[in-house]
Each structure stands twice: as C-alpha cells, then as structure tokens.
C-alpha cells in the first residue's frame, strides 16, 4: 500500500517547525529593534509593540467572543 502523506504529523517535522517559529520570532524582534517604523501615534513605533498587540489583542478578543457565545449560543436545531 502507498504510504500516506503525513509530513506534518511526524514528530521531527513538528519539532523543527516549532524551532523555526521561535527562531524567526526572536530574529524579528531584533530586526524590529533596529528598523523601527515611522510612528503615527509615538507609541506604535516602540520595539515589540506589534508582537505585544498581537498577543494581548488575541486574548482580549477570545475573552470577548466567549462572552458573546455565552449569551447567544443555542442548540443546533434551535430554528427548527
């Protein structure tokens, strides 16, 4: 039988991908420090501002979305 295409399920690949991600993240932080962007509002040009915005914004949105879900969630056949 033909072997299944399971590239992304191999532990080695997953480990390598995690490594690349962490390395790229750190590299980008360094790059960001040396090449700051032109600021619109002063604080948006701080180093690592965007990374922090991404992390905090993500958690914030998920909390808001969970709050909305708590209110609006109904059973799949609610509308019949």
């Amino acid at each position: 039988m033909k072997k299944e295409f399971d590239f992304f399920d191999r532990p080695k690949v997953q480990k390598a991908l995690s490594g690349i991600f962490v390395g790229a993240f750190l590299g980008l932080l360094v790059l960001n420090f040396f090449f700051p962007k032109k600021a619109y509002f002063v604080w948006d040009a701080w180093p690592a501002f965007y990374a922090l915005f991404g992390i905090i914004g993500c958690v914030l949105l998920v909390i808001i979305a969970k709050g909305i879900r708590y209110i609006v969630k109904k059973k799949e056949d609610y509308y019949g």
Binding site: D9, Y40, Y50, A51, G54, C58, V62, K66, I68, V72
Partner: protein, 595 residues
C-alpha cells in the same frame, strides 16, 4: 460623446443563451463570456456616456478609475468561479450566476441613480435565484429572508432616489453626503443593507452558507462590494460610516471566532472585511479611497479562494463543520495549500495581496491621526488572523485527525483555486499591477523593512497566543451550536409577535362570523315566522314585573311560546279588517294630497 454598448448587457443578454447550449460548448461559453466582457471594458475610453432618456432623466454610463477597479475584479472572479462551477449541470444557477455579475457591472458603471437602482434590484433577484438553486429547505427559507431584507433596502433606496430627484431635479449619481436630510439618510440605509452595516447584516451569514458551494463564490463577490463602491461615491468622509465600519469589523471577527460552520464563519468574516472598507469610506481621504478599492479587489479574490477551498471540502466530505473536520491535508494537499494562501492573504501576511491592500486603510487612519479607528481596526486584524488566518486551515486540514480521507478536489476546482491563489501571490509581490489602476494612482509604498518586520511580528504574536490558547483549552471549543444574531428578531420574535396577534384576532374573527353568519340569520328567520306573536311575548315579558300578578303574564307568554309559530294573535272578522284598511287608505290620501 459616442455611444457604447454597456458591458453589463454582454453578460445579461449572454446569460439567456446558456440554456440552449450543451456540453463542452456550454462550458467554453461560460468561461469566455466574462472574458469578452473584460475585453469590452478595456476598449471603452474613460468618460461619461449618455444612453437615452427615461422619465425625463438621462440614463448614462460612467467609466472612471473607481468604477473600473471594481469592474475588473468582477469579471475576473466571474471567470474563475465559472471554471470552479464547470461540473454544475442545472441551468438555473448557471443563468443566475451569469446575470448576477452582469448586474453588478451595470451598477458600478451606472452614471445616474435610476440606472443604478435598476441594476441594484437585478442583482438582488439574481442572487436570490442563486441561493434558491440549492434546492434545500434551508436555502428556500434563507432566500425568503434574504428577499425580505433586500426589498426593505431597495424600497428605502427607491424612496430616497425619488425624493432626491424631486428636490434637486436631477438623478445624478455623485456625492450626496448627509446634509440633504431624510432623502440622503434613506439612500444611505438602502446602501447599508447591501453593505451589511449593523444591524442590517444578518441576511449575509444567514443566506450565503445555505447556497450551493458554487453559488457561494458568486455571492461573496458582488453585492457587498458594489455597496462599498456606491458608498465611496456618495458618502465619502461621512463620519457615521467610520463608527459603523469599525463596529462591523469587530463584530464580524468575534462571531467568526465562535462559529463552527466554516462557511458561516467566512460569511461573518465578510462582514468584518466590508467593515474595513466602510470605515475607509468614513475616513474619506484619497489614501483611504484607494485603500478600500484595493481592499475590495484583493478581498474578492482571497475570499473567493477561501470559499472555493472550503466548498471543495464540503463537496468531498459532505460537511463544512469544524467539529467534524481535521487532518484533511493528507489527501487534499493542494486544496490545503490554496486555503493557506487565501488565509494568509486575508490576514495581511507580506508578499500576498492582503498586505498591500489592507495596510493602506490602516495607514490612512494612522496618517489622519484617527486613533480609535486605527486601534480598533488593528484589533480586528488580530481577529482576522485568529479566526480565518489560523483557525480555518488549521481546524480543517490539520488539528485532530478526523479519520476522513477524501480524495483531492476535482481538476476544474483545482484550476480555479490555482488561478485565484496565483493572483493573490502576484498582487502581493507585484503590487504596482493593482496600484496603477487605483483611483488616485500609486501613492503608497507598502514594502519597507520595518513594515514587513512588524507585520510578521504581529502575526507571530497572534500565532503564539493562538497556540497558547489551544494548549490551555481556553480557545472557544468546536461546538455543534447556532449563535443567535439580529435575524432572531425576524425569525423568532417576529413569529412570536404574529402568534401573539393571531390568538385574539382569530377569536374575534370567529366570534364575528358566528354572530353574523349563524346566530343572526337563525334569529331573524325564527322571528319572521310570526312577528306579532313574538312582539306580544316581548310585551308580556316586559310588562310582567310591573304588574300586581306577574304570574299571569308569564303564563300567557309561555303559552304563546309553546304553540309558536302557530299562535293566532287576534281572530278578526273580515268587516273589521276592511274598516281598518279603509281608515289607513283615507289617512294615506289625506297625507299625500296635503303635504
């Protein structure tokens, strides 16, 4: 100026031929028709063209840079979607899917409000038939609700247009602004229904996921983008749109995060993306108008691509619910790749189309110093990364293996997705191709080391948080559930209201019909059998309480009732009767001659 043949009519009239064609000729025809329209558009020099007069108004076409950007992408996606839909056999959807882009072209090329309105309504009905051609009960009901919402919007628009023509004497389709009072607000509401502005948005996530997989590609492209176009024409710089757009952008992503049905998720995300464009209309500066045109162009392509990829999954697996998918990359690697390209484009990853288009709107808000727009739209971008950028490809093609091993998508679908993906990449690495057709030219340089760095860093930050939330099980779980939206008001509350009205009204109706049609005729017939006897009974009944011996009266009344209707009131002799008649005759004659 010379007359031109409206490109819209190439598609609309061309659509009528479709049912007469068969097999490969039909397939080729479907793909060639948008290309012919495209060539026709390229050959028309920019300018205004007066066609003919109608109701004392000049019907005209307008070809300028703003309308052309939208027209180009409309014919491109129509061509790609027709390739994707090659396997569809039914003529109904094919014809509707050909008229629909034609009507959209007609709307963006309209030079006056009346032409606009005609094509506007044509779009509504073409879209309705696309929804209905997926012959499920859900599609039928959702189509009906779609129609109701759009009729409401269309009537607001029509009323606004009539008032405008009445007030100003012309139906010119240009800047309207909000100073003209009620007329301009009605037009704005009419546009807002199609632009999914809250709270008129619910028809979109309600109806689009109910369409067939091919129909959905067409639906995502035209209605909302045409609405953005007309808003950019008529209400640039209207502050209210800034707030509306930001609200839509955030609302859309929040619902996308919790939605389980991926096609509905993508539909909610359209609300968010169109929110970006509506906010750009509100900002209104040249960079923002450029931004919304570019964004609309890019959006049609990558949102179409995402709908195609998920459509292929639905076609092969039979479900588009995140809770039933996972691990599909093993057997659908190309679809997975195209989905990732679409998801990365929509997230604004550098070197893809979303980056060069979306950053323009943000830059416009930033340069104008409108902090809340910039901050909240950036937050909405986080939501885009989270809900579509990572969630859609991850939950569908990776994540927990669902054990499903569907075959790869059919060839025509792969070609269509490949074309859309190619355009996403092409615009990303060669943005000049897009910038040169923008209304205000190439006034924006997207690529600097700093801008690319921060965008990647931004995405990496969101990815880090996404992984963290998944690992800690804090990310909203995949649940089989529906999430209530504004459509609850007309799907549940409206029904309840009808019932509430129905119960007392039905009771009243029953009562009325019983009294008028049953009881009253019976009584009259009964009374008519012997009126004098009945009058005597009535007299006796009324008289009895005032008499010293009421028993006597009551007894007599009962005796009469017992023999009714054969009771004889008073046996009179013939002579007496004759005398009576004579007296009445004399009285009558006296009255007749004296008065």
């Amino acid at each position: 100026m010379d007359n031109v043949f409206p490109p819209a009519l190439i598609l609309i009239i061309g659509a009528l031929l479709i049912p007469f064609l068969k097999g490969h000729i039909k397939s080729a025809y479907m793909i060639l028709l948008p290309i012919v329209a495209f060539l026709a558009i390229l050959n028309i020099p920019p300018g205004n063209y007066q066609m003919f007069s109608f109701l004392g108004q000049d019907m005209s076409l307008r070809f300028d840079s703003l309308s052309l950007v939208f027209a180009y992408v409309f014919v491109i996606i129509a061509c790609i979607a027709n390739i994707y839909a090659l396997h569809v056999k039914g003529d109904r959807e094919r014809v509707a899917a050909c008229i629909y882009p034609g009507a959209a072209l007609g709307a963006v090329f309209a030079g006056d409000l009346i032409t606009l309105f005609i094509f506007w309504e044509m779009m509504t009905f073409a879209a309705l038939f696309i929804i209905w051609s997926n012959k499920t009960a859900g599609a039928r009901a959702a189509g009906m609700r779609y129609l109701l919402m759009h009729l409401f919007g269309g009537l607001c628009l029509l009323t606004g247009i009539i008032m405008t023509v009445h007030n100003t004497g012309t139906a010119t389709f240009g800047y309207i602004g909000l100073d003209a009072g009620l007329a301009s607000w009605l037009i704005l509401i009419g546009f807002a229904v199609n632009a999914v502005v809250l709270p008129f948005h619910a028809w979109l996530p309600d109806a689009y996921p109910e369409a067939s997989i091919t129909g959905a590609i067409f639906l995502t492209a035209f209605t909302t983008k045409t609405a953005v176009y007309v808003l950019a024409r008529t209400f640039p710089g209207a502050e209210v749109l800034m707030f509306a757009g930001v609200a839509m952008a955030l609302f859309g992503v929040c619902y996308a995060i919790i939605e389980n049905n991926i096609r509905r998720l993508l539909s909610y995300h359209i609300v968010s993306q169109v929110g970006f464009m509506v906010a750009a209309v509100g900002v209104g500066v040249p960079l923002a108008i450029n931004g919304l045109a570019a964004h609309a162009f890019a959006h049609v392509l990558y949102k179409g691509l995402l709908f195609m990829a998920i459509g292929a999954v639905l076609y092969r697996v039979g479900t588009a619910k995140a809770s039933e998918l996972g691990g599909l990359y093993r057997t659908m690697p190309l679809t997975a790749l195209f989905c990732i390209i679409g998801a990365a484009s929509i997230s604004g990853i550098p070197f893809l189309s979303g980056f060069v288009s979306k950053s323009m709107t943000l830059a416009a808000a930033g340069q104008e110093g409108i902090m809340f727009v910039w901050l909240l739209l950036t937050l909405a971008s986080v939501g885009t990364l989270l809900s579509v950028g990572f969630k859609v490809p991850y939950f569908t093609f990776f994540a927990k293996d669902s054990g499903k091993r569907p075959p790869e998508a059919p060839l025509n679908m792969l070609i269509a997705m490949g074309l859309a993906a190619f355009l996403c990449v092409f615009i990303g690495i060669y943005p000049a191709a897009l910038y040169n057709i923008l209304p205000y030219g190439a006034i924006f340089a997207p690529y600097t080391i700093a801008s690319v760095t921060i965008k990647f860093l931004f995405a990496a930050g969101v990815l880090l948080a996404f992984i963290f939330l998944l690992r800690t099980n804090f990310y909203p779980a995949k649940l089989l559930a529906v999430n209530l939206d504004v459509d609850w008001f007309y799907r549940k509350l409206g029904l309840g209201f009808l019932k509430l009205l129905g119960v007392p009204l039905a009771w009243l109706n029953n009562l009325g019909s019983r009294f008028l049609l049953e009881i009253m005729p019976k009584v009259l017939i009964w009374f008519g059998k012997n009126p004098s006897a009945m009058l005597k009974v009535a007299y006796l009944t009324v008289r009895s309480p005032f008499s010293s011996s009421p028993g006597k009266f009551q007894k007599e009344a009962q005796d009469i009732k017992a023999v009714y209707p054969n009771y004889v009131f008073q046996p009179w002799s013939i002579g007496f009767t004759m005398a009576f008649i004579t007296i009445f005759l004399v009285l009558y004659l006296i009255i007749y001659y004296t008065l």
